[in-house]
Subunit: 638 residues, 2 copies
């Protein structure tokens, strides 16, 4: 058996960071970067590289704070409401607008509203004024030499205003950290090239360069290097000659690629760590060459993105002189049991919604290759090293990706996933910018169980009930028991057989499935219930169906399996068949309902969802989809 | 008396917003802007203008999830740990790397670690494998046609990765809202021109354009227009011809300027509101011309910045299809009584720190002309219309500008403000990026009172005690009573007489002050205590000192008053005199101490402050300042 890298053990994240920090300190690269001088108009969002002192006081002269007349206060002492005091214009009183400098020998302003003009040269006033009334004193805002901004301060719009106000037209800001990104992988193509079978699109460089730019750095992405140590060494040497602050060598998907990276770094400098006890993402490499840190980023996209968050972002912030971001975490109750490897810091992507006054976290798919698990995540739960995970209902510490206000407005839909729920989500969003529908696919029965457990607001289900010839009613009562609930029709959908283009086996009915490899849905799925019913109607035993035991979890997954020749036939929606350019034989129109416990009907998000569901625009658009009918959409079943 | 605009009443903020929204709806401008197609490499941070569906499944073929050998699972059934099964390379088993497509007629991958190579053409395996083991199925991440991103979604790095992964190289994003900014004011100069007396630097355009850009818009700033209605009308007409989404007419400081703006908007379209019941900032104008909204922004910088936050930002976000930001607010206890005009929404800038387990909010200067009140603010407290304010200790709702983690690490220093506290803040920041010292100037005695009330961690004081010839000790006991506290020396500072350059009155001692206009400090200030002591020593009555009753609140303010000829002499620090190019006659070296109740010594920020105070670099830098000695800095007095 291969013994590749058995000598290199994963080290804890903290230890890896400490090693990197020590190496940076040794290379004199641990501190903030030096400054560059920028005009104020280009400095927004940049970070000051020195404390900034006022070059000029603001205002830089005593000036009127009101429109009116400047006077010497002492000369007004005798004015009374009952005894107007005359002032000679241009002698005792001088017209000033707000912001005008006080004329010599004046020290107060009388508001224009408090003056009567007796004639062309005489004003009358009816009250004395105190010295410095309605005067902005020189330096009221900023006095020359005082510190206006501290160093390592990220410049906001008001800061730019203050700098201009105290006499600066430029500011010394931290140079942006420069990150050089080298993607590797013989199977990878740039994202603007259509990949053939066996080729994959390289997109981790988009993720890592985006992260670097968001954090305040500059990113340069070089061409993709094939899996060849010599080529990679050459690319690294070229990058080092450019003297960036950081080099990221992005691995392809092949496990062997890590070895190339480690070997190439080792040839040019030193490998400090190879493997970090973080999940997902442990095949991270940390090295230094020519005083420049090099991070080998794993190929799986979730691992790559987390490596960016955990290692690259803190470096960039440190170089900018900024504190490491401490995302405010929230406590959420897990809707699933989560097992974590005890030796790893485990980062779990979760969907978040508030249900019955508690924030619930539902873990999303955990595969490191599933980038959509990060795209769909509302937050990242951290299960620290030496913890085994949490039970269902246990408390997770989650760093949210969404503001709390968005989480509180989220409608959590679990159960069977209909692709048109995304259309409903779009209409929800069109109604309110804050409208958010999160859909988690757990099958029809799974959705009803989730409702009972208080893990979702809404369940999507299409459970055929042969005894009554209807849908969902008996199941709703079975799972929700006495809980009052609303059952609303979402849509009628055409279910049928999905077949390869041209239907090579000539299948025309359920009976023909005896001679085909079938792609099945999972237990608890409405389509599985329907299929089992149809088998029974045709007196066919599941044992006679090749592939019956192999389960897929969505219509599209079944369609994909048929399209790729894994099976000869599957059952599912016309829409899914058409999406994959498959042939389709319609068998039945089924009803897909939404079940909602009545206690959720006052929830703002659920209310908005019900409005969107009954919106005529939505219904028209839904009904226009192939394989969908919307004539009963929004109708109350019970 | 002038009756200017008495017919126009301030309207509530909500009403103003509603009027603007209605006018926008009428002009067909209420919704999100149309899309423009951008390459993914330029789309970071932009907002999707349509839901994005997968153009290609990801992966788009079944592929190996591990490095190893692809096999047909059924052929491995007989393999046992005790009975190796031979597989022929290239016939039964095919080498694959992670990401490789599965060869025809294979449906599982055996990890390379679980195989022994018997000879060049034969592998041995020791266990059967299940179908699809270590295989990433086509569409595992995204299936062609499924919705990957909703519309009105702000693109993050991982989203760009997902879009590339499912076959996109570009994305339709909302066009950036275009904001045209016209600064007006005859007294204003661009910020890169040195203003003369009577001229002011125009910087509100920097603030408003920065706010527009931060929110996702584009901003264009035109040249400054003088206070002339015809010129402004011409500039507005020019801007309208350009068809921006929004025009901002920035008023200068003169009150009359609002009238020009209103008249010019009225001439070209309609004024919807003139005056909004918001404090600070009410002279806001809202209008529409040629279907384009125009906002007249008040000239005082705090009013201008708040107008941007309250009116401009929500518009830009609406045009981008984003929800209005709902900043998470926190509850803080006010350290001051705040009176609010009952008819206004009042926005109060506050400094925030956690003291004794509670977050305390200290209101900063409230003048609308003091931009540093926004620069220094840690948050904005909103006192809604129909509320009269809060008492000291009352609860404020604050939208924080700082993350909670920064607020929790803040050291609040009240009392006398020494300019070198800013140097200490810099060193605190150099030690830790999160280190933050907030200093609020309330005078020496005010600081000790703040300590007793739990409103500050540290008080700065320099209270001379003639009976003992020492500093601060008796006052500390007077105000803190039995509370155990540490008194540490911050610095010795040279106090003396600040005189105009050349000392025109020939002042050489305190006795000479009888023939000068003096600029005094406020009661409770250490310098005032010292001055009163010196007067008594010279047998001079305060009545003999012209200007004794006029109080300034800082050394620099006294220096500025002398520099500007308001007075002939003041007492203060050598450093302040030199900052203003004044002559200086040294009278004494005084001790400036920091008082810290012992219960705060375990506070992380206070600990860091004590370390910074005793840092040799800090002490060296402090001692090198003119008028400072640091030989006792950090020493414990009691």
């Amino acid at each position: 058996m291969t013994k590749r890298n058995i000598y290199l053990e994963d080290i804890p994240l903290d230890e890896a960071r400490a090693k990197l920090a020590a190496a940076l300190a040794q290379a004199g690269k641990a501190g903030a970067l030096p400054g560059e001088r920028l005009p104020l108009t280009e400095a927004l969002g940049r970070v000051t590289a020195e404390p900034v002192r006022a070059a000029r006081s603001s205002p830089h002269f005593h000036c009127a704070a009101m429109d009116g007349y400047a006077v010497e206060a002492a000369r007004t002492a005798s004015a009374r409401e009952t005894q107007a005091l005359p002032l000679r214009l241009g002698v005792d009183a001088f017209p000033v607008n707000t912001g005008d400098p006080l004329p010599e020998n004046t020290n107060a302003v009388i508001m224009i509203e408090h003056v009567n003009q007796a004639d062309e040269t005489t004003l009358l006033i009816y009250a004395s004024v105190a010295p410095w009334q309605h005067v902005r004193l020189m330096g009221e805002d900023m006095v020359a030499t005082e510190t206006v901004l501290q160093l390592n301060h990220q410049l906001r719009p008001v800061d730019l205003g203050a700098l201009a106000g105290c006499g600066h037209d430029s500011v010394l800001v931290r140079r942006r950290p420069r990150v050089h990104i080298i993607p590797t992988g013989s199977e990878l193509l740039p994202h603007d090239v259509e990949p053939a079978r066996g080729q994959l699109t390289e997109y981790n460089s988009l993720i890592l360069s985006g992260q670097a730019r968001e954090a305040g750095g500059e990113a340069q992405v070089s061409d993709i290097i094939g899996d060849d140590e010599a080529l990679l060494r050459q690319a690294l040497a070229g990058a080092l000659a450019d003297e960036p602050d950081l080099i990221l060598a992005l691995s392809g998907s092949s496990a062997g690629a890590h070895d190339f990276t480690a070997a190439a770094i080792g040839a040019l400098g030193e490998v400090l760590a190879h493997g970090i006890a973080v999940r997902p993402g442990h095949p991270v490499i940390i090295g230094m060459a020519a005083g420049i840190p090099i991070i080998g980023v794993p190929g799986y996209p979730v691992s790559a993105a987390l490596t960016g968050e955990l290692l690259v972002l803190p470096l960039i912030r440190r170089w900018l002189g900024l504190a490491e971001p401490q995302p405010a975490t929230l406590e959420a109750f897990s809707t699933r049991k989560i097992s974590s490897p005890i030796g790893d810091d485990d980062f779990v992507r979760v969907a978040l919604a508030e249900i019955d006054g508690r924030i619930r976290a539902t873990p999303l798919q955990r595969g490191a290759g599933v980038i959509t698990s990060l795209v769909r995540a509302d937050g990242l739960a951290h299960i620290p090293r030496f913890h085994e995970g949490v039970d269902r209902g246990g408390v997770l510490k989650v760093a949210p990706y969404q503001p709390l206000s968005a989480i509180l407005e989220t409608v959590m839909v679990m159960g069977s996933h209909d692709p048109m729920l995304d259309l409903l989500a779009t209409h929800l969003r069109l109604r309110s910018a804050a409208g958010r529908l999160v859909s988690v696919n757990v099958g029809s029965i799974g959705g009803l169980i989730a409702l009972r457990r208080g893990e979702a607001h809404v369940a999507g289900c299409h459970l055929f009930e042969p005894d009554s010839g209807t849908y969902n009613l008996r199941h709703l009562r079975t799972y929700l028991r006495d809980e009052p609930a609303l059952l609303l029709t979402f849509a009628h959908r055409e279910q049928g057989l999905m077949l390869p283009e041209g239907n090579p086996l000539g299948i025309t009915s359920i009976a023909d499935l005896r001679r085909a490899r079938y792609v099945n849905r999972q237990r608890g799925a409405g389509t599985r219930v329907l299929f089992d019913y149809l088998l029974a109607q045709h007196d066919i035993s599941p044992d006679d169906i090749a592939g019956y035991e192999r389960e897929e979890f969505t219509h599209l997954a079944v369609a994909a399996a048929v399209a790729d020749g894994i099976g000869d036939c599957g059952m599912g929606l016309r829409a899914a068949a058409e999406a994959m350019s498959l042939d389709f034989i319609g068998l039945t129109w089924e009803r897909f309902d939404l079940a909602i416990p009545r206690r959720h009907l006052e929830n703002a998000g659920v209310k908005a969802l019900l409005e969107a569901l009954r919106d005529e625009d939505f219904k028209r658009e839904l009904g226009a989809q192939s394989g969908y009918r919307s004539d009963e959409t929004g109708n109350v079943v019970v």
